[in-house]
């Protein structure tokens, strides 16, 4: 393989990984932006999304097989179900804590994370589940570089979701209300905005994006495990901070950067792919020292 081939192949790998990170990071950053909560349960919603997608796919595979149609259907349904789960978590666990000291709600988020991951562990006996699809192995072959149609479709769907979100947040009244709540909640109330409803909507969107990434990861890796939300939760958090926590374009940028960094990091001589987490978290530490607000983040005085 020539150097150019390696670069192209890692670019493709990095973009796929990066779009998963970006989708999950979006939920992190949106929830932080609106209620200043680091929702540690967010990675677990990605995991639950994968499992719900698997369940739905198994249920409809008799009818539709394991084709693209079936996968898109299960992804959409999983997004709706996990979005709703996110709203319920927000309503039951977080809303009563909003006026409590900040640490209480953080600990609540950790508890929700444990309930979700251990719940799925109990149901699945801690086993790996094979996420079977019959999408085939065709793809674009450029000699030494191979990109499967599945990979291509995953990146395209992730991009579509992000474009839709960007449109929603910037062009619709509800999207603008979401951004306004991140700026000044009381002023939003005086505009006639039902702040609790918009917070619920934010959880719905963030959670459903994580679920989409979960289903995509199931398709891409071919298996699911209850612990898969933990590391991606940390990575997505890293991506959100790198991009500037609270910033939606920042989360997309941070996710893609992180994915590319990990993909190219594996190509450094004598350093194997098992070191990729070191790159991510190393970058996080470096960035927190050099530019704590992140690439697209605004300077803001923390009101702990």
């Amino acid at each position: 393989m020539s150097n150019l081939d390696i670069i192209l192949q890692q670019l493709a790998n990095g973009l796929i990984l990066g779009s998963f990170y970006a989708l999950v990071a979006l939920g992190y950053t949106m929830v932080y932006g609106i209620i200043k909560l680091l929702n540690f349960a967010h990675g677990d919603l990605y995991m639950v999304g994968g499992f719900v997608g698997f369940l739905i796919l198994s249920a409809i595979s008799g009818l539709l097989g394991e084709s693209w149609t079936a996968i898109v259907c299960s992804m959409v349904l999983s997004m709706l179900a996990v979005g709703l789960l996110g709203v319920i978590i927000q309503r039951v666990a977080y809303r009563p804590m909003l006026k409590a000291p900040r640490l209480s709600i953080l600990i609540t988020a950790l508890a929700v994370s444990m309930i979700l991951s251990n719940g799925v562990m109990a149901i699945t006996d801690g086993e790996y589940l094979a996420f079977n699809t019959d999408l085939g192995y065709e793809g674009l072959d450029f000699g030494n570089v191979f990109i499967s149609y599945t990979q291509l479709a995953l990146v395209v769907s992730a991009c579509l979701l992000m474009v839709t979100l960007t449109f929603f947040v910037n062009k619709t009244l509800y999207g603008k209300a979401m951004r306004a709540i991140a700026i000044d909640q009381d002023a939003c109330k005086l505009m006639g905005i039902n702040v609790n409803r918009i917070i619920g909507l934010t959880f719905f969107i963030g959670s459903s994006l994580a679920a989409a990434a979960g289903v995509m990861a199931g398709v891409y890796y071919g298996s699911l495990h209850f612990s898969m939300g933990f590391v991606i939760g940390l990575k997505a958090f890293t991506a959100a901070v790198i991009g500037g926590i609270g910033s939606i374009p920042g989360a997309m940028l941070g996710g893609l950067l992180l994915g590319l960094l990990e993909a190219f990091g594996t190509q450094i001589p004598f350093i194997g792919s098992e070191w990729k987490d070191v790159f991510s978290f190393g970058l996080l530490i470096l960035l927190l020292i050099l530019k704590p607000t992140g690439i697209l983040g605004k300077t803001e005085i923390e009101r702990m």
Binding site: L173, A177, I183, K189, M191, K298
Partner: protein
């Protein structure tokens, strides 16, 4: 006094800020078409009164009646939908969003896009400077322009009652005049106004009558002319 033209009535309203007893029984009323002013020193409870009316703070006792309906304990967004709009102290515009976006948020309760456009045209006609800068970040506006935006935003729905909290705060004298001119014009267009001011001299020129607050109580009330002549008011709030 005709009871039916009462727009707002407060009956013995009490409010706590944490443990601070901020309002200790406020009773006042505003009739349709009036400009009424609340005067008082810093910390007298003027802003708390407005925040309690618009639902940002909760009254622990007493009743607030708006257009004949009890609104005590209602959520702020429900009160806004009834046509009671509060322009808070410090303007509280959405910095980081454009002027146009700020105005659109002011019309959040409107469902009809053509109505939204009509209202926005009206606001741009009142404040041409906002039209000129409509696509700029509102954080770039000067203090006077921010006050215009805050007022413009409140006019995006057709308010029945406008609560204005210190619209002249921190503004140069010619801007204070400009804002006051707008207040009079809005009032002539049929908007009833409850105006909180530290600048009592200006407020008493516009208002038909006023109330004076001191440590959460109303200590004096009367028509503007009488208040202007009252020696104690003059001494305390007009800076003689």
């Amino acid at each position: 006094m005709n009871v039916t033209d009462l727009v707002l009535e407060l009956q013995n309203v009490e409010t706590y800020y944490g443990k601070i007893h901020a309002l200790r029984g406020i009773s006042c009323s505003v009739r349709a078409g009036e400009i009424v002013t609340l005067l008082g020193a810093n910390g007298a409870g003027k802003s708390t009164t407005l925040r309690t009316i618009s639902g940002l703070n909760r009254a622990s006792k007493g009743t607030i009646i708006f257009m004949g309906e009890d609104i005590t304990g209602k959520q702020p967004h429900e009160i806004v939908e009834m046509g009671l709009i509060h322009v808070p102290e410090g303007r509280r515009i959405f910095k980081g969003m454009t002027i146009k976006e700020n105005l659109e948020l002011g019309s959040f309760t409107l469902k009809d896009d053509s109505e939204r456009q009509k209202r926005m045209d009206h606001v741009f006609e009142l404040f041409p400077i906002l039209h000129e800068r409509r696509n700029r970040d509102s954080a770039m506006l000067s203090g006077g322009e921010q006050q215009m935006l805050a007022m413009g935003r409140s006019l995006m729905t057709k308010p029945k009652l406008l609560l204005l909290d210190e619209p002249s705060m921190g503004l140069a004298p010619f801007l204070v005049k400009e804002i006051m001119r707008i207040i009079v014009r809005l009032n002539k267009e049929g908007v009833t106004i409850l105006l909180v001011e530290q600048n009592a001299r200006v407020a008493l020129q516009l208002a038909s009558h006023g109330y004076v607050l001191e440590t959460g109580r109303i200590v004096l009330k009367g028509d503007a002319e009488t208040l202007r002549r009252d020696e104690s008011i003059v001494k305390a709030y007009l800076g003689e």
